[in-house]
Symmetry: C2
Subunit: 314 residues, 2 copies
DNA sequence: TTTCGGCGTGTTAACGGTAACATGTTTTTT
DNA sequence: AAAAAACATGTTACCGTTAACACGCCGAAA
């Protein structure tokens, strides 16, 4: 591998000048700069990150902490991971994936997903910048990035209203996490704003649980009912329960939430609120780098997309 | 962060002795070794990987190359990624995720998934060890790790035979990749060994395509037919098509292949051949490290598990 | 008793890069 | 025209670790 000295030799300057061309180009005269740049190009020089790390007291490693059980990990992590890794690589950083919080690691920052409330104290105590993926509770002011959950269910509810469904119910999650509360909120607010009566049920995040719920409920579900679901998993179960009578989308409308993978494999294809993963990945990485440069960037809620497919009338 | 000098000072020895205790313990006297170890423990010393990298001319970075389109990435990547990353971390390595082949990167090895035949020349030309995830074609002798695809469909076919299904068909993939050929082979060989007439259909790897195929085929599918599917996606479509008549598992049996995620969200729950991802991750990492130590380790085919659930009789 | 070999430990230099300072040259100021 | 300031480039030392070599000590061989 070529190093600074090789470039320096070829350009007839010292190592330091080459280093300056890269890091403080304004301090080098135009002619020398041009010569050095062409030498860099000619020999294909790439800085050695390890040497930089050593002298700069940095690690160029960002940790992605997955605190959820690996087995239950949602497929969307793969997409998020790939995007984040790519963005970090572009900035000369490397990704380290870990499944438990540990202080004193040689890392420069942490991106956390799948955390629960009781993980937050330990995360706050870390000596490096941290960004959460997912809305943090009000009593912690840790920076986070999330889809705008409230807006998401609001859009879902509005879509069902516009599509002419009469009664609209919400199937939410039994877990008491901020994002779940926000999603419920988006439904409730929209219903109130439209002077409609809201009705909330909750289930565990499994398609079978949702299927069972709807099965038990079916006598209470008149034709022309819309169902806003807190997740695609729930929506999948709801679709299965309602589709037995072939009532979708004419008799019943169903909208999911997340828009990764599950929505692709349902039949009929699921109308859903899609998380903008590319933007989320960008925001997570940007947020971390702003913190690394001593800035501050609090919470970021990103607008979701409505993907209208075949479980609702258009 | 504490460094060698801190430990050395505390143990009243030189930095070199501490380094030796870590890397060549047999060259240090027992008493000094004990003193150094307790000093290391007391100050919580962890070696600086960057400094080691610099002096050892290594990078301590392994690249995970995802050559498949990010959007179509299967959920199982998440699991595999997490496992691989954890294993690498344990060995002091970091994972770098990338989506395109590029020479001259500062990495020590590459794990590749989602490759196509025309990627292989470029991979072979890399100057660092490479392991493929997924069976490689015969004309390349690159090391690979994969589930034993042939054994997988053999087990699926045997299970259907034992469960008493009479006619057994195979729904395979239109793509002409080694793993797909192997899966077909496992079915064909088992049928031949049991003196049964085999019947192979192929579709694209989409549940809707499979659903359509079975729908078109239904007059040719007598009661008591078993279906071996090349993937869980296909199996999902087959189940949807056959379950309309509530014929599963009594009238029809269905077995999938992959056992990640999709099988969890089907109803009824899918009988499937599960890839042993934990072992695959281990094998991929081990294979790479054997190569890094100048060893050689060719192809590794790992035994799959049969997960019997509700789309077949037991 | 002197010499040699081995053992345990310390010293030096190097990996590739950068900050801080030193030096030499040009430009500005008075 | 001399002094000061600004600019461009080079020199030195250091980040944390390790290989290679140097050194001193002890026991075995002569």
């Amino acid at each position: 591998m070529v190093n600074l000295a090789d470039v320096a030799h070829r350009a007839h300057v010292s190592k330091m000048t080459v280093s300056r061309v890269i890091n403080h180009p304004e301090k080098v005269s135009e002619e020398v700069k041009a010569a050095v740049l062409s030498a860099i190009d000619a020999v294909g020089y790439q800085p050695n990150r390890m040497a930089q790390a050593l002298v700069n007291h940095q690690n160029y490693v960002i940790e992605f902490l997955v605190l959820e059980d690996v087995v239950t990990v949602e497929p969307n992590y793969a997409i998020l991971l790939l995007q984040i890794a790519d963005l970090l690589n572009q900035r000369g950083y490397t990704l380290e994936i870990s499944t438990h919080i540990k202080a004193n690691k040689r890392i420069d920052g942490v991106i956390v997903s799948g955390w629960r409330a009781d993980d937050l104290p330990a995360l706050e105590a870390l000596s490096v910048p941290v960004v959460l993926y997912g809305e943090s509770p009000l009593d912690y002011d840790m920076p986070f990035v999330d889809v705008d959950n409230r807006q998401g269910t609001a859009l879902a509810t509005q879509h069902l209203i516009r599509a002419g469904y009469d009664k609209i119910i919400y199937v939410g999650l039994t877990v008491d996490l901020p994002f779940a509360q926000e999603r419920e909120r988006g439904y409730l607010d929209t219903m109130a704003a439209n002077h409609k009566v809201s009705r909330v049920y909750t289930v565990d995040n499994h398609s079978r649980a949702a299927e069972q719920l709807i099965f038990n409920l079916q006598t209470h579900l008149p034709a022309n009912t819309g169902v806003v679901c807190a997740t695609d998993r729930i929506a999948l179960g709801v679709v299965r329960a309602l589709n037995r009578q072939n009532g979708i989308p004419e008799k019943y409308g169903v909208v999911g939430f997340d828009g990764v993978f599950i929505d692709q494999i349902t039949s009929p294809q699921l109308t859903t609120i899609r998380q903008p993963f590319a933007q989320i990945a960008h925001a997570l990485v940007d947020n971390l780098f702003v913190q690394l440069h001593n800035g501050e960037l609090g919470m970021q809620r990103l607008a979701p997309d409505v993907i209208i497919r075949d479980t609702t009338r258009h």
